[in-house]
């Protein structure tokens, strides 16, 4: 256990350094992109002198490193700055409601993806050699290979226009104890469906190949040889060992979801963070963009850390080896 604690502490210490690096890169890339928000928003009728005065007042004419230090000083005082896309609104007021929206349906997607994908993949592996094997893998491949930009209009057309079962988009909330929750409305079904289908297929496909690999291992043959019942072999030995690599892709799945959210939110008109992150770039909303990137990176780092720790619980070898095995991820 000591090994894990040390490992966690090392990783936690590394996280701020990574975030600092990301902040420098994001900040400079943002500022070096041609044009700034005054150019974009001032409109064609503002005079050059006026635009220049605004840039001066807003500190946009200062050297990039000065702007960066000013920004970081504010961050450390808990001030995330003010938005430009929504002029003068506090960044936290702009991004947190959106993060909450995206988080809600993505958590459901993650739960569904793993809890359906893992049993499904195991089942498919055990049916190897029957007609169900090519059928199931074919189905998985089919769903996993449809890009969201194709599935969105297709499902939208099918469920909203043709069948009229679901609204074509939007986001609708119900209030529970003062918290606005959107996943219990019919608007949430389409985005969840769109992101879950390829997710399940991907996990199931991966799980299937892992299970097949484990099935060929010596210790499985040993387990069978010592007379264990087949169902015990599968649940106690096969699945547990096969799930280890699947846990790894949890982190990647999160990244894929973020990318998927961008399209889903744009096409379906969901006021989430994916769509907004995209818009901040075009509108040069520097402070919002920085906040989103830094928060996103922090979440990504934390998820990977949690996955690594979770390894220890799924695979006892890692706990004994003091985390050395996990560091390869």
């Amino acid at each position: 256990m000591q090994g894990i604690a040390g490992y966690v502490i090392r990783r936690l210490l590394l996280a701020p350094l990574i975030l600092l690096f990301i902040s420098v890169v994001t900040f400079s890339l943002g500022r070096w992109a041609p044009g700034d928000y005054v150019d974009i928003q001032a409109g064609p009728r503002a005079s050059d002198e006026l635009k220049d005065r605004i840039k001066e007042e807003r500190g946009l004419n200062d050297p990039v490193y000065e702007q960066y230090f000013r920004y970081m000083a504010n961050i450390f005082q808990g001030d995330l700055g003010q938005s430009v896309k929504y002029r003068g609104q506090d960044v936290e007021d702009v991004i947190f409601p959106r993060i909450w929206v995206t988080l809600q349906y993505n958590v459901i997607v993650l739960i569904l993806t793993f809890s359906i994908g893992i049993p499904l993949g195991t089942w498919a592996a055990l049916k190897r050699g029957t007609w169900m094997d090519p059928l199931s893998i074919g189905t998985f491949l089919f769903f996993a290979s449809i890009p969201v930009v194709v599935s969105i209009p297709l499902l939208q057309w099918l469920f909203a226009v043709k069948l009229s079962w679901l609204p074509s988009g939007g986001w609708n909330v119900h209030e529970f104890w003062g918290i606005e929750i959107g996943i219990f409305s019919r608007e949430a079904i389409l985005p969840i469906l769109i992101l879950t289908l390829p997710g399940i297929a991907g996990i199931a496909r991966y799980m299937r190949s892992q299970v097949l690999e484990v099935l060929d291992q010596d210790f499985i043959r040993t387990a069978r040889a010592k007379g264990l019942h087949e169902s015990a072999v599968v649940t106690r030995h096969v699945t547990r060992n096969a799930m280890l690599p699947v846990a790894t892709i949890m982190g990647f799945e999160l990244a894929a979801l973020t990318a998927g959210s961008l399209f889903v939110e744009r096409f379906l008109g969901i006021p989430g963070i994916g769509q907004f992150a995209f818009e901040t770039i075009g509108s040069r909303d520097y402070d919002s963009l920085m906040a989103i990137v830094l928060l996103g990176s922090a979440i990504f780092i934390m998820t990977n850390l949690i996955v690594d720790i979770a390894y220890g619980f799924i695979d006892p070898r890692i706990r004994l080896a003091g985390g050395a095995g996990a560091e390869t991820t």
């Binding site: 044009g35 005065r53 569904l112 069948l163 939007g170 409305s185």
Partner: protein, 554 residues
């Protein structure tokens, strides 16, 4: 944990999640079942999926506004909301007539430079706490002009007022030309009499804000008050979820006729497909894009009965850098103009969602000249003219820049380039630039040709000709300069006789069209679908308050 249990737990969680979501979705949207069951599947009835749809509520698909502070907004998407929520001295009606708003009447001095506005004495703020007085106008206009505000529009629209620019540059403590006579009387003195002043006064920048809530906010900071402003317009803003929705409610104290009839207006601003939402009865009005236009034009299509089009006060054009060869030669510009078939662009490529442009001024604008011939489409004459100027080789490296980042620059640009290729044998390259970069290039005259549009701020020829083509205007991107045109425009700016003014503008327009600093391409039209139960909605030709004329009948 035992793996068997883990697996069944996972499966259980998945199944439970699905069940819980479905059950709750059914339960929570259950209120709509009673009116949904009879509709036989041609779309869920209204009230099914959106909460609390009131019987007298209008649902619209709206743009995402930048800032709802009238002193700051320079974009049409923000102005669309501001004109419904806030109000000022004068406004426009649906027929584009200037009408009194908070100012009930006004007189002008003999030289036309002093306006005395008599305010209505029954104008209350939305919260009914106080009535509007002349001091509110002085405060609101000076606030907009205050250099601390960093407003990009104040100087542009209020520059006629005496002392406005001095104040805006921080060289005075107040605006000299604004005087409060008494609570109901406001006097505004101009630097120089101009008939355009009242038009510019209709723009949101001089609208009333509540001194008690705006605090130290500027156009770039601390604007939280705009999420729930206390104002004077026909509707009050009751809910503004950034990037999500905007809800307006009727101002029961409203002072003009007709007073608003809609209890509530909800704008969905999340983006998405408004056409699909309209088909699904989620919004009551939608614009129609090129993809759907053929379908709604089909007389057999049920939606056809709900289809309307309207003129828009705009012009889309190609601008030339008139100071850089070969575009400093009017013959080259005219040749490129003659080689474009504007009828084809407007009626075929844009499926009739546009009127081919002959000049700068759009139809529907006072001063539009239907007799203007413009530069007609004539490929042979275009070739001859280009040969005379030096031949197609002149345009070897020509580039036209457009804002955008798509796979193509759009069907119109593609058609234009094809026409130039076919009629003149020249290869003009399209370069797309991201919007910020594009604006900077235009601003710094770092271009040969560009393609852009201009939308009226107020319905007057001055807003097109002087602003875009006077040699001293900051918005003259083409650097076009013709002393004769300048003289006509200067004269028109101070001419109070409406017919004489229009005559002057039409003369200037004719010279401009022949000098060809622009290729006027087309005037875009709006096309919309409006549900049959929505009455009185007119697609506005430019941004003006139009929701108080709307009623819902069902």
């Amino acid at each position: 944990m035992d793996t068997r249990r883990l697996l069944s737990l996972l499966g259980g969680i998945g199944a439970a999640t699905v069940v819980v979501i479905i059950v709750l979705a059914v339960v929570l949207s259950g209120g709509g079942d009673d009116n949904g069951s009879g509709s036989d599947g041609d779309g869920p009835s209204i009230g099914d999926d959106l909460p609390d749809r009131e019987s007298n509520e209008l649902r619209l698909f709206g743009p995402d506004p930048l800032i709802l502070d009238p002193a700051c907004a320079s974009d049409a998407s923000s102005a669309e909301y501001i004109v419904e929520i806030f109000s000022g001295l004068v406004s426009f009606d649906l027929d584009l007539n200037l009408i009194p708003d908070i100012a009930e009447t006004w007189e002008t001095s003999d030289d036309g430079a002093v306006y005395t506005f008599h305010l209505r004495n029954n104008v209350l703020f939305h919260d009914s706490s106080r009535r509007v007085t002349a001091d509110d106008f002085k405060f609101s206009i000076e606030r907009a002009l205050n250099p601390r505000m960093l407003s990009t529009v104040a100087e542009v629209y209020l520059d006629d007022i005496k002392g406005a620019l001095t104040y805006a540059r921080g060289q005075a403590d107040e605006v000299e030309g604004i005087r409060v006579i008494d609570a109901d009387t406001l006097e505004i003195t101009l630097e120089k009499a101009t008939p355009v002043f009242l038009f510019k006064l209709s723009y949101p920048v001089s609208y009333i804000v509540d001194e008690r809530e705006v605090g130290d906010s500027t156009c770039f900071s601390d604007t939280r008050w705009t999420l729930n402003p206390n104002a004077t317009g026909p509707f009050k803003l009751t809910e503004f979820a950034l990037g999500e929705r905007i809800e307006l409610e009727r101002n029961t104290n409203y002072y003009l006729e007709p007073a608003p009839s809609l209890d509530k207006v909800t704008y969905i601003i999340t983006g998405g497909s408004s056409f699909t939402m309209y088909e699904n009865d989620e919004v009551d009005i939608t614009g129609v894009g090129l993809n759907d236009i053929e379908r709604v034009r089909d007389p057999n299509e049920p939606l056809n009965a709900e289809f309307v089009t309207g003129e828009q006060l705009n012009v889309f054009y190609v601008g030339f850098n008139t100071e850089e060869p070969p575009f400093d030669d009017a013959r080259v510009r005219r040749a490129l103009n003659m080689a474009l078939d504007k009828d084809l662009l407007a009626n075929n490529i844009l499926e009739g969602l546009a009127t081919p442009a002959k000049g700068v001024l759009p139809p529907g604008l006072p001063g539009y000249n239907p007799a203007l011939e413009g530069i007609p489409y004539d490929p042979q004459a275009a070739r001859d003219l280009l040969d005379e100027a030096g031949g197609p080789d002149l345009l070897d490296d020509a580039i036209i820049i457009v804002p955008g980042s798509g796979a193509t620059a759009g069907p119109v640009l593609d058609a234009m380039v094809a026409l130039w290729q076919e009629n003149l044998g020249v290869n003009i390259e399209i370069q797309q630039a991201e919007f910020g970069l594009f604006l900077r290039d235009i601003d710094e005259a770092n271009f040969q040709m560009f393609s852009l549009g201009w939308i009226a701020d107020y319905p007057d020829a001055q807003n097109f000709l002087e602003i875009k083509l006077h040699s001293r205007s900051a918005n003259n991107e083409t650097l076009y300069s013709n002393p004769e045109v300048d003289a006509l425009l200067d004269q028109a700016r101070t001419e109070f006789d409406e017919d004489a003014r229009i005559e002057l503008y039409q003369q200037a327009e004719e010279i401009i069209v022949n000098d060809a600093p622009w290729i006027p391409l087309y005037h875009g039209k709006t096309s919309a679908l409006i549900k049959p139960y929505v009455d009185g909605y007119q697609v506005p030709a430019f941004v003006l308050p139009n929701l108080r004329y709307v009623t819902i009948n069902k």
